[in-house]
């Protein structure tokens, strides 16, 4: 019994607990104590500490340590809630979260639609170049007009060098139309340097824009799940994107089968450690983001009642919010990393899981998807079409 108790206590100090809960609790406690010490004044606090006997100090320290462990344990238990909150799935606080969630989901949907539109878009710069070429061609004369002088060429090159992709196709085209008009005044061949400059620039922009468009499917696949699984926050959408990966590729419900997959590859100890690393970072960042938000709230709501100094509490409020935002950004990066590893794990080990679940190796992807569909149906709903379809034999069949 004592051994069992000791192993439980030792389990508290594993890396997951230490970084995911204890360290955030410690940092939060230090921030709160320092703020209080500042409000009361550092000198009186130190004087009070000096008056304590060794026995009193040991007692206070023991209580503080115990309180810290309890807080850390509570934070550990609340991890799922923190994750739901930052993924935009929480209903706390009731009315506020509902309205904010509706707004943020709407904003995410708009972003999703905007990115989806780029999937079928084409670079506009090829058209701009074509229009410029046509415009110059209609005005081009190789005789009968004066040759463009150096100053004119320099001015036109400076003007075309000043064009920026960010100005947009219509603005750029407007400027190029002015350049094309110079072909009415000067011999066309004397402006070849200007033409070359414009064409080279537009070709470069076209390549850049095309490369950006080519990246959109990958970006969309990593930032969002599908239109129906849109979440209010970026973190929620990144998590959904990785969950949807297994569903769309293999017909596997990732959330349902993740723990089974871990069980199937438990011998791959080193690999499991690798996939756990970003999860620990994600938990740490989310706990810190939550505690930073709590600190900011305490600073703005409770602070002025302790000591009326609006400047100080506003500063601490801003610090808390900024810190919360930064930790949220870390959490998004960690979720991306974790999601990539999750995708890789399903790609690499899903057939081992299928073997562990008692199903044969499928001959092709189509059969594999059917098998995962059956397994999902069994796991989620308890439905099996028939034992035969599922590849299970009845005891009577075995006897025969």
């Amino acid at each position: 019994m004592i051994d069992s108790l000791l192993s439980k206590i030792t389990g508290l100090w594993d890396k997951n607990f230490l970084f995911g809960s204890f360290l955030p609790a410690l940092i939060f406690a230090v921030c709160i104590s320092t703020t209080f010490a500042y409000v009361l004044g550092f000198a009186p606090v130190w004087s009070w500490v000096d008056t304590l006997t060794t026995y009193q100090r040991t007692t206070y320290l023991s209580f503080a340590t115990l309180a810290l462990i309890v807080v850390a344990y509570v934070l550990n238990a609340l991890r799922v809630n923190f994750r739901r909150f930052w993924c935009g799935q929480s209903s706390f606080p009731p009315l506020l979260s509902w309205s904010v969630r509706i707004l943020l989901e709407d904003w995410s949907r708009r972003k999703f639609r905007k990115m989806s539109r780029h999937l079928v878009s084409l670079s506009p710069w090829k058209t701009v170049l074509g229009n410029f070429e046509a415009s110059v061609l209609s005005r081009f004369k190789d005789a009968g007009l004066p040759v463009a002088d150096g100053a004119t060429l320099r001015d036109l090159i400076r003007r075309t060098d000043g064009l920026r992709r960010q100005y947009g196709p219509s603005n750029v085209q407007g400027t190029l139309e002015l350049v094309a008009k110079q072909y009415e005044k000067f011999e066309g061949n004397s402006l070849s340097e200007v033409f070359f400059n414009v064409k080279r620039t537009l070709i470069e922009w076209d390549k850049t824009e095309q490369a950006r468009i080519d990246r959109v499917p990958t970006e969309l696949d990593r930032q969002f799940g599908s239109f129906v699984t849109i979440r209010a926050t970026r973190l929620g959408n990144v998590v959904e994107a990785h969950n949807q990966y297994c569903l769309t590729r293999y017909n596997i419900a990732a959330e349902m089968f993740w723990s089974r997959l871990r069980g199937a590859i438990r011998k791959e100890d080193e690999y499991l450690k690798i996939i756990d690393e970003p999860v620990i970072l994600l938990d740490f960042a989310l706990t810190m983001a939550t505690l930073s938000a709590v600190y900011a709230t305490l600073a703005i709501l409770v602070g002025p009642w302790l000591w009326y100094k609006p400047g100080l509490w506003s500063l601490l409020f801003a610090f808390g919010l900024f810190s919360s935002w930064q930790f949220y950004e870390v959490a998004v990066a960690a979720a991306r990393q974790s999601g990539e590893l999750m995708r890789a794990t399903f790609d690499l080990f899903r057939l081992e899981m299928m073997t562990a679940l008692g199903r044969p190796h499928p001959a092709n992807l189509q059969i594999e998807r059917q098998q995962w569909g059956q397994l999902s149906s069994l796991a989620a709903l308890g439905n099996v079409d028939s034992d035969k379809d599922f590849g299970l034999q009845s005891p009577n069949d075995t006897e025969k």
Binding site: E133, F140, N189, S192, F195, F196, K199, R200
Partner: protein
């Protein structure tokens, strides 16, 4: 009968550009403009399929009655397929891979063989083909501007199209 490593007929692998059939024609020609040559090896699924005489191919594309602009944006494999019998710019690569000391017949129409020497290479049974493969092409527009590559079939210095006139340096 010459051997497969005869310098009159042989060209090292690094001297000839290998391009996937899925590469757009203008991109293939842009890549070729960095090399002193007018020929390239067209590969399909990583395997060499044919030798393309770029001068002839661009000439055929420019003079093709269908829109030449769109052909420059088309994968080079599709361009070759589209032109079909109308072009003699494509020389097949024999499926047989030669060893450096193998004797190769020079008769029987132009043909290119892959040679499995240390660094690999290509054997041209027609020496003219090899000479052409090592000469740079300059694409000249209607306005006599010289271009390193034909872009989308138009000049880099004026809006006029690349004409069927080519120069070898």
């Amino acid at each position: 009968m010459p051997t497969a490593s005869d310098p009159e007929y042989f060209l090292g692998a690094q001297q000839l550009l290998e391009i996937s059939a899925e590469t757009p024609l203008n991109q293939a020609l842009g890549n070729l403009s960095h090399l002193p040559g007018s020929g390239l090896i067209l590969t399909e699924y990583g395997r060499p399929k044919s030798f393309v005489k770029v001068n002839d191919l661009v000439n055929d594309v420019v003079n093709n009655p269908t829109s030449s602009i769109s052909l420059f944006d088309t994968p080079i494999g599709n361009v070759v397929m589209h032109l079909g019998q109308q072009t003699n710019s494509v020389v097949p690569i024999d499926p047989k891979i030669l060893q450096p000391n193998d004797s190769v017949p020079t008769a029987g129409g132009p043909r290119v063989y892959q040679v499995a020497s240390a660094g690999g290479g290509w054997y041209f049974n027609d020496p003219e083909l090899k000479v052409m493969a090592m000469r740079r092409t300059v694409y000249v527009c209607k306005n006599n501007h010289r271009n390193a590559d034909p872009d989308h079939g138009t000049c880099y210095y004026c809006p006029y199209p690349i004409t069927a006139q080519f120069e070898d340096i």
